[in-house]
Amino acid sequence: MRTLRALPTLWRIGVAETIAYRAEFIVWMLTTTIPLIMLALWTSVASEGPFQSYSSSDFVAYFLAVLIVRQLTSNWIAWQMFEDIRLGVLSMRLLRPIHPFWAYGISQAAALPFRSAIAVPVSLILLASSGAHAITTNALQIAMMIPSLALAWVISFGINFAIGSIGFWVTQAFAIGGVYFTLYTLLSGYLMPLAIMASKYPTLTKLTWATPFPSMLAIPVRLLTRNLATPEIARMLAIQAAWAAGSILIALAVWRRGLKHFEAVGG
């Protein structure tokens, strides 16, 4: 109850921190380059005819959808946690009667609308104008985008929180964060649609679907860009919900074990 009552203030403070540095804030809003590079690359591949089943405008729709989902679900809390643990700043968070899982989570969530304040509306307009035919027309699917994006965000946050907690054991854990981001890039559909990857590397793609990465990006993008039957929509959301629950449990377990190793350096 105490945590619930604190939510609005935590949110407000998170927003205030996000916009404290105006220049940095504007740079954040504009840094969304990888999906745009991929968009240019894949549309040129498909310029003379569809590649696999993707036409040039399918790629436009896909990567604009990737941009939107990425903007709304990205997390960077692992990096902040590494720093907080390494420098002992975490001590001050631990003295507050609120689990850092909540405190970090709300500060991350509070930043999202601002970080995506430009990229998401622009992408949505572009998507509606140049990729309209490739967007789903299924009302249920469009409605399900909201829980799907929320679940993708929870999975991303949970995994980031678990990785950040590795900082309790490893002083310079940034490399682990780097490995995570590389895997995310390769296995989530960030660089290419997983359907294209499946045609070239079927086994790898099957394995990919056994990881949380598609739930963080490919599934919400699929919901936005493909017309799916209701059972398939339910299956996609169920996969996401399972990974969301799993990532929270893993995050809290790693945190609990790691906290015993916290050395609270400094002071």
Binding site: T9, L10, E17, S91, M92, L94, L95, K260, F262
Partner: protein, 324 residues
């Protein structure tokens, strides 16, 4: 109440000599030492006590405070604060304690202190009227008025420390762990913080465990002191008792009016310092009346003061004895 029973905290520390070869070797083989930061410390502090926690650098003071405030899991032994086991970090305990570290900030760096206060009010679930009353009281006592809406990063060290104290006390904790709360502050500010801590202790019957390298903080605030060295407790008792035990002689200081040689003065006691006409002697307590009579009568001193030896000196003697 704070209770520690045979409390230990050991750290595994990686050691390697300087140089490129050692750096390369350490990639494949690392040598670790176990550092016993706290090594079997036991004490009990009752509600409302003000206790100084002293020791040389690396003695284990801050580590003990971190264990007691729940930041560190002890390696062995027991700790209890306000009836709770600290490392479990139950919300009820966190609402009753605070830890102020002179070299660590809980203020949000990029925002004014008022925002940290609002955050603390929310997470500590402090009722609005109580929060307003406490903040008003702290603002008056610590003269925070003009500081509340300045970004923390733009505050001076002294200003920041005052704001830190306020942030740490807004939820009216009843156990205060203060780790070097006056470090880097000017004398006037040190006095203000001391007065404030004493008054908070009296008004809220709060327990205070204080570490400080400024002995004036300890002398002014703490009737009882606990001394640790190399992780072990070496004294627990009242300040006067420690001074009497380690260095029972008094310091007699006076300013000469008539000339006198060092040999003449040294007949009265051990000459500690002499700067022009200002003299300090070390004199056994039982000889004080006789020495005072002589200084005022024969030497015609312009003034005279009798004091206990400085705590710094007492501790220096104590730590050197420990090393022997």
């Amino acid at each position: 109440m704070i209770r520690a029973r045979e409390l230990t905290k050991h750290f595994k520390v990686h050691r390697r000599p300087p140089g490129f070869v050692s750096a390369m070797k350490s990639l494949v083989h690392r040598t670790y030492d176990t550092v016993k930061a706290v090594d079997g410390v036991s004490f009990t502090i009752e509600r409302g006590e003000r206790v100084g926690f002293l020791g040389p650098n690396g003695a284990g003071k801050t580590t003990t405070l971190k264990v007691l405030s729940g930041l560190l899991h002890p390696t062995s032994g027991e700790a209890q604060v306000e009836g709770h086991v600290p490392f479990r970090r139950e919300a009820d305990l966190l609402g009753k304690i605070t830890l102020v570290m002179g070299q660590k900030s809980q203020l949000i760096w990029d925002l004014p202190p008022a925002e940290t206060y609002a955050l603390n009010r929310a997470v500590f679930d402090v009722p609005k009227d109580q929060f307003d009353a406490t903040l008003e009281e702290l603002t008056d006592l610590l003269e925070l008025g003009p500081l509340l809406d300045k970004p923390t990063r733009q505050l001076s060290l002294g200003e920041r420390m005052k704001c830190e104290l306020a942030a740490a006390l807004l939820h009216r904790p009843t156990t205060l762990f203060l780790d070097e709360p006056t470090i880097g502050l000017d004398v006037a500010m040190q006095v203000a913080i001391r007065d404030f801590v004493r008054s908070y202790n009296q008004r809220h019957d709060a327990t205070v465990l204080l570490t400080s390298h400024y002995m004036d903080d300890v002398v002014a605030l703490c009737p009882r002191i606990i001394v640790i060295d190399q992780g072990k407790l070496i004294h627990d008792g009242d300040l006067r008792g420690l001074i009497k035990q380690m260095d029972p002689d008094k310091r007699v200081s006076f300013t000469l009016v008539a000339p006198a040689t060092d040999e003449e003065i040294a007949k009265l006691g051990t000459l500690m310092t002499r700067e022009a006409q200002r003299v300090t002697l070390k004199v056994p307590e039982r000889q004080i009346p006789e020495v005072v009579g002589h200084v005022l009568g024969t030497l015609k001193a312009a003034d005279l003061a009798i004091e206990d030896p400085p705590l710094e000196d007492v501790l220096r003697v104590m730590f050197s004895k420990e090393k022997e």
